[in-house]
């Protein structure tokens, strides 16, 4: 849900950014972080705890608590609250601690 009217701030209409969330095509706008775009879509569960798989959403929005970690373009543990959304990003819910991998 985006703010429509605000007494102090002006939110100009921004260009659309297309990305995918767990494989589905979705939209955000320019200036969104990954987390804010997902939140606007009503997606609050971004991650889960490693052992008990309890749902996790964003908490601090300053890149400090790791509660918003997701896989972005194949890279695990991305703090989605401080990373700007980019066209074509593939955002996925992370199932484990994040796997080390080698780029080819």
């Amino acid at each position: 849900m985006r703010i429509k009217n605000h007494p102090i701030l002006e939110f100009k209409k921004q260009s659309t950014i297309n990305f995918t969330f767990d494989g589905k095509s979705v939209e955000g706008v320019s200036g969104d972080t990954i987390a804010s775009a997902l939140h606007n879509l009503g997606i609050r569960k971004l991650s889960h705890s490693i052992k008990d798989k309890r749902a996790r959403g964003f908490y601090c929005a300053i890149g400090n608590c790791a509660s918003c970690n997701m896989i972005v373009d194949g890279v695990p543990n991305v703090r989605t609250c401080v990373v700007l959304l980019e066209e074509g990003m593939a955002v996925e819910t992370q199932e484990n601690k994040g796997v080390l991998y080698e780029r080819t």
Partner: protein, 364 residues
């Protein structure tokens, strides 16, 4: 390995201000910022600030951020800014490890100013990890920076200034604030902020806190209860509130993990927000050439973070052989500004905290 004169960790008001004075003195610096933009906590504060004119009182936080950023951008040859870069390691020989996207980078600095700010505290209650439970500052970022609402209705926990201000800003953005809960018997923040909320019909429930959250994968309701004078829940006073967003505003704690990595002397001072580095009057820690400024060395306000930034920038410039042309004058001015900011009833906590930190033990 790249070797620099001054590295500033954190691009909030303290870090930006330090870079400005360093640049004025002729000293080059590199600001490293974890977020995709500099400005720190100020970028989401739509309210006007208190304080005196020198620290931009009566100006909105978001506009102060612009001023501070422009001050630094005026020195493109002297100040370099790296965003989306986190300092993840700090070593005693002044080597830093940076994480930028997937790359680790090592750099070395003659002097370091740590200006990492503070983070919001958590509150212990059942199911406090459900999505829909946020730090108040996080919600402020979501709505004031990104224009996204947390939900249609919220409950705020904590009636300090941040809790009150963010509640007001939620209402401005079109959200219904169902209640503000305060564990203490009295409201913590300034009366002006509390009155504004009360006029808008928001209940501020004192001696009350959240006992439990409920919901599947996301918050659906909370159970609140009254507290006795020992802050224990009073049985039988539980009440249920249907709400899908809860903001927690129970204070900030300094982000000092980098200081622990170099084993700087630390002390737990409640008045300053928790564990803080022991510093001398020049804002230098027990590790030579590692300085601190802003909330990281005691949670205060943007106004004092700015002046501490200027002050540490001035000191470091002199240390590295770039004495500011007006060094003596500025030194006295910054010291006087800090003293002034901490005078009066609202500065009491900081005054007591600093006394305790410096071991001047008539503290309590």
């Amino acid at each position: 390995m790249r070797e620099l004169d001054l590295v500033i960790i954190g691009g909030g008001p303290a870090g930006l201000s330090a870079a400005k004075i360093a640049a004025e003195s002729g000293l080059n610096s590199l600001i490293i910022e974890r977020d995709y933009k500099v400005g720190g906590q100020l970028v989401k504060q739509t309210h006007m600030f208190f304080g005196s004119e020198k620290q931009y009182a009566k100006t909105r936080g978001i506009d102060i951020a612009k001023i501070l950023v422009n001050d630094v951008l005026a020195y493109p040859d002297k100040v370099e800014i790296m965003t989306e870069t986190t300092v993840v390691g700090l070593y005693k020989d002044n080597v830093l490890t940076l994480l930028q996207k997937e790359k680790y980078i090592k750099i070395k600095a003659k002097a370091i100013i740590i200006a990492t700010g503070a983070s919001e505290k958590f509150l212990a209650f059942e199911n406090n990890d459900l999505p829909g439970i946020y730090g108040a500052g996080a919600v402020q970022t979501l709505m004031n920076v990104h224009g996204v609402l947390p939900s249609e209705e919220v409950v705020m926990v904590g009636s300090g200034n941040i809790g009150l201000i963010v509640s007001y800003q939620l209402i401005q953005a079109g959200v219904k604030v169902k209640a503000v809960l305060e564990a203490a018997p009295t409201i913590g923040g300034y009366k002006v902020h509390a009155s504004k909320l009360k006029r808008l019909g928001v209940d501020i429930l004192t001696s009350t806190s959240v006992k439990r959250a409920e919901g599947k994968d996301t918050l659906e309701k909370i159970i609140i209860a009254k507290l006795d004078k020992n802050w224990d829940y009073i049985p039988g006073t539980e009440e249920e509130i249907i709400v899908d967003a809860l903001c927690i505003s129970v204070g900030l704690s300094p982000l000092t993990s980098l200081l622990s990595m170099v084993e700087a002397d630390m002390k737990f001072v409640n008045y300053l927000g928790g564990l803080v580095p022991v510093i001398n009057h020049q804002h230098e820690t027990s590790i030579k050439n590692i300085f601190v400024a802003g909330d990281v060395c005691g949670v205060e306000e943007a106004s004092s973070a700015i002046v501490e930034g200027y002050f540490s920038g001035l000191i470091v410039a002199e240390r590295l052989g770039y004495k500011h042309p007006n060094h003596e004058e500025l030194y006295q001015d910054f010291e006087a500004q800090l003293e002034n900011l901490r005078s009066g009833p609202f500065g009491e906590k900081t005054r007591l905290g600093l006394k305790e930190l410096r071991g001047e033990n008539n503290a309590e």
